[in-house]
Amino acid sequence: MNHTARKKISNVVMFALTGICTLVTVGILFFILGYLVWNGARALSWSFFTQLPAPVGEVGGGMANAILGSAKVLLVATLIGVPIGFLGGVYLSEYGGVGFSFIVRYMTDLLNGVPSIVIGIVVYGFIVLRQHHFSTIAGGVALGIMMIPIAVRSTEEFLHAIPQSLREAGMALGAAKWQVVATIVVPAAIRGIMTGMLLDLARVAGETAPLLFTALNNQFWSPGWTHPTATLPVMIFAYAISPYEDWHRQAWAAGFVLLTLVLSVNLVARLVLAKSQPIHRG
């Protein structure tokens, strides 16, 4: 009797503890969101989006250059990461043999595990040292390399989920392999692939470490593609560790903008993915 009671009590207590763990974890998310909205929205003003950073000591200014800089860096990253990732994924899913595919998959995993700061070092050595200056291009290349592994993996997975019978039907009608891939398989999986790429982009949009010594930072507009540029994450970092009260306020505003962008992309993409899942399984 006593034993049974103890069993029952420990059952309730332990599951209650696991419930608390869940609550705390989810609670942290809401705390982060709430705090950033509370602090960031208060600090946000129209000039944040339209003005250049104010010189030290002056109150006000904005981060217009960092917003444009982030967009430019992400554009370069997309131009590098998406084509290589997509075509690499198509190769692995549709064309790959056994030997080389294994190596490519292994290398993709390896690349995915490389800490982001290390990517920064490599791009610094490969591009910045050769060009002799920091640039938008270098930052974009660093983020683009970071995009590749996830882009490859999501493309490969969504293509794999397309039933073999669809490919066979195409072949039976006399279509060449490339036609089957380009007009049947890829269009069937395109929604999943696109959302995968979007999630990938959202992930690198918040990356700071690889930009520190590739795109560096800039208090002014960055003309063209070969000059150092400000980006939102690097600005948040620089402003947060600065000793100025007004810069802290701006850091909160920038954090709020960045988090809103990243999380809304995540929300939309995951909802689309959740909806499209049954189709792929069928």
């Binding site: 419930g19 942290i28 997509f86 390896l110 290390v118 050595g125 060449a176 960045l258 988090l259 929300l267």
Partner: protein, 328 residues
């Protein structure tokens, strides 16, 4: 179009030729498609090799100068040209272990709740929210760390901690806010989502029969979870922990912002320290001289090697677990 084509075709026997040109026009296209995708796949191979090569080649100066002692000496003096990585390796290990100490029980607890107790709809919704935590950029964790976590630790957590555990070497000395402890706590929040989502998947994949057999023998649900489901899933859960550890070791921004950036080896968790990723982030652009730069790149190589090994182990463990569950 047709009008232009027909005169040409009329001069030769129409039927076989049209087929032959069709085939001929196809095969190069197919080969081209193959070559294009092969090039992309090959470039992935090339990029990863390049990453390895750059790290290896650019750190050679430092590797030859210091040899293995680089990893075990404490002095980090750019002016004198003395570089030892011990303070950074120590800081990286301490903060990561601390993060695991907080995140593992919490993450596994949440995973058990989500996999065993919560109804599927609730479980999916909560997991969705927890996975959003993983999407928050690390610089934002750093921001919250500086302005929220550090004051909270300073005012509410550390004074009672010190009055209870102050006699142990772990909690001695004055607390200025930035410390191993702050970095460990921030890291723990960052890695919890990985542990929860991977462990939950693993727990869900444990066959139902295992649970039913245990419940039929009169075990409570907790006993079933703890003595049947967890042992069954333990490899995959270790895998999720390794995965999280690899994340924690390579994490840069959030840690840089709260660890204090002081190259020293201190037993007390309340003291400021430094990590490998943080020192690279802070000193790389200011590194003057080839040896200094080379030493920082060697740190990057060390970081890469460690995360590579951990990721490999994690993958192996998760893979073997999911293989089991597929078979049974």
């Amino acid at each position: 179009m047709n009008a232009a084509d027909t005169p040409l075709l009329q001069s030769t026997p129409p039927q076989p030729c049209r087929i032959r040109t069709f085939v001929r026009s196809l095969r190069p296209a197919d080969e081209a498609a193959y070559l294009i995708t092969l090039t992309a796949a090959g470039s992935i191979f090339a990029i990863t090799s390049l990453v390895l090569f750059e790290l290896f080649a650019n750190s050679s100066f430092s590797r030859h100068k210091f040899g293995w002692s680089f990893l075990f000496t404490q002095t980090w003096d750019p002016v004198a040209g003395q570089f030892g990585a011990l303070p950074f390796i120590y800081g990286t290990v301490v903060t990561s272990v601390l993060a695991l100490a907080i995140a593992v029980p919490m993450g596994i607890g949440a995973a058990i709740f989500l996999a065993e107790l919560a109804p599927p709809r609730v479980s999916n919704a909560l997991t969705f929210l927890i996975e959003l935590l993983a999407a928050v950029p690390s610089v934002i964790y750093g921001l919250l760390g500086i302005f929220i976590l550090v004051p909270i630790l300073q005012n509410y957590v550390v004074p009672p901690l010190q009055s209870v555990l102050g006699f142990t070497p772990l909690f001695q000395g004055p607390f200025y806010g930035v410390s191993y402890l702050s970095a460990g706590v921030v890291l723990s929040v960052m890695i919890v989502p990985f542990i929860v989502s991977v462990s939950r998947e693993i727990l869900i994949s444990v066959p139902k029969e295992q649970r039913e057999a245990s419940l039929a023998l009169g075990a409570t649900r907790w006993q079933t979870t703890w003595r049947v489901v967890m042992p069954y899933a333990h490899k995959g859960i270790y895998g999720s922990i390794f995965l999280a550890l690899a994340r924690a070791l390579g994490e840069t921004m959030a840690v840089t912002m709260v660890i204090g950036n002081t190259p020293q080896v201190k037993a007390s968790l309340l003291q400021p320290g430094y990590t490998i990723a943080a020192v690279i982030a802070n000193e790389f652009t200011e590194a003057t001289g080839d040896l200094y730069l080379s030493a920082l790149i060697e740190l990057g190589l060390v970081l890469f090697a460690v995360t590579f090994i951990l990721n490999g182990m994690a993958r192996l463990l998760i893979l073997t677990t999911s293989k089991y569950s597929v078979r049974s």
